[in-house]
Symmetry: C2
Subunit: 229 residues, 2 copies
């Protein structure tokens, strides 16, 4: 290790003037393009059936460039998933809008913005992925779920959820994930309707949990305040 300075920028291509200048892109931009093309293809077909040539062609790059940047298809796939995961997490950072129920609704809106804009990548991420060498894909998906869970925990100000609250929140997150995949498949409900439904699910699940766990009851109180729907 130590020989690849992964994050180092090389914005100035060597001997640029001597090449047939198609488009001048930085290394990062080129990588992004390749990953976007890859995600699009990987989510439409099984990754086994997608060739490096197709990815290169879709991004207007050469096969050699894909190998140069990523080393191989599996590495490209993993890089593309990690990039999509990072985008999702960045987008879900709390906006501190004030009212917790508005914050929840706003978080869901940003989540479904991501789902809609990156439909292919989202499906690729959550369908469990194709051939995963050493379970790497499953590891990425699990790690995203865990980080989103901690994000939700932080946002609601809970440090040590008891079993009932933990399961309730994980259940709700699974609902949101499932609803996202269902929506991409059917698109027979308005997004605003779907988002409202999922806010309603969170309140309903907390209310059910509150019967068993005071922590859930308190969270419900914080969430809906005086105006219980």
């Amino acid at each position: 290790m130590g020989s690849t300075s992964g994050a180092a920028k090389q914005d100035t291509p060597v001997a640029e003037g001597t090449r047939p200048a198609r488009r001048r892109l930085s290394v990062d931009q080129r990588r992004e393009e390749l990953m976007a093309a890859a995600l699009e293809l990987f989510s439409k077909r099984d990754a086994e059936g997608v060739s490096i040539d197709e990815v290169a062609s879709a991004a207007g790059a050469s096969r050699a460039l894909v190998y140069h940047y990523f080393g191989g298809k599996q590495e490209l796939y993993v890089a593309a998933l990690k990039s999509a995961a990072a985008q999702l997490e960045a987008r879900l950072r709390p906006m501190e809008s004030g009212c917790p129920l508005d914050e929840l609704a706003s978080g869901l809106r940003r989540y479904f913005d991501f789902v809609e804009e990156h439909a292919a990548g989202f499906a690729a991420l959550l369908k469990g992925g194709p051939a995963s060498r050493s379970g790497e894909i499953g590891g990425i998906v699990d790690s995203v779920r865990n980080r989103l869970f901690r994000l939700v925990m932080r946002q609601i100000g809970v440090h040590e959820p008891g079993p009932v609250l933990r399961i309730t929140l994980r259940s709700w997150m699974a609902s949101v994930e499932t609803a996202g995949l269902d929506w991409l498949e059917h698109r027979d409900l308005e997004r605003t309707e779907l988002e409202g439904m999922l806010v309603g699910q969170m309140v309903a699940l907390l209310r059910a949990a509150a019967d068993r766990d005071p922590q859930a009851g308190q969270l419900l109180g914080d969430l809906v305040g005086g105006n219980a729907p």
Copy 2:
């Protein structure tokens, strides 16, 4: 195709009397043993790291026998998952106990019986599995989810769920799945408590959905009857 008569029984081993008789098992029993051993191993470690030799050894069989019955590790893995899925489905067929809420509770009990008895197989099935050639593993998981969804639909007497009810029921099924994995990981809640919680979630989710969809409202009425919790 047509050359492999997959389901054909060969209960009488050829020249049985001439072998050192360790244990006499039918082909089906031997297959079952190999699959059970495989599921146990595959769920504890990444399947990439499990060798055919280990599976054979765990089942007290020879490496050659595993290849003879399954052809290879991927085929063994797929066969083991399909077997686990079939067991789960068989167990969830409705008992027609009468009251829908009791039936739901009874179905959940049988589901968690399965989760508990086949913990390793359940985790292997739902963690998305290891390297899946041609997305076969993901296909099995999706197909089980779809069949369980139709089972639930049939049981509640709904033929054409609208979007709100469909998403609500898929959300709940995702909750149950997530709760099962969480329970296997933490085991910090009594099973009966967890099952009761998930019945409560179904009622809560239907109640939230009923605001948007009369079909969900009717189902809620059928489920809880006069005694809404």
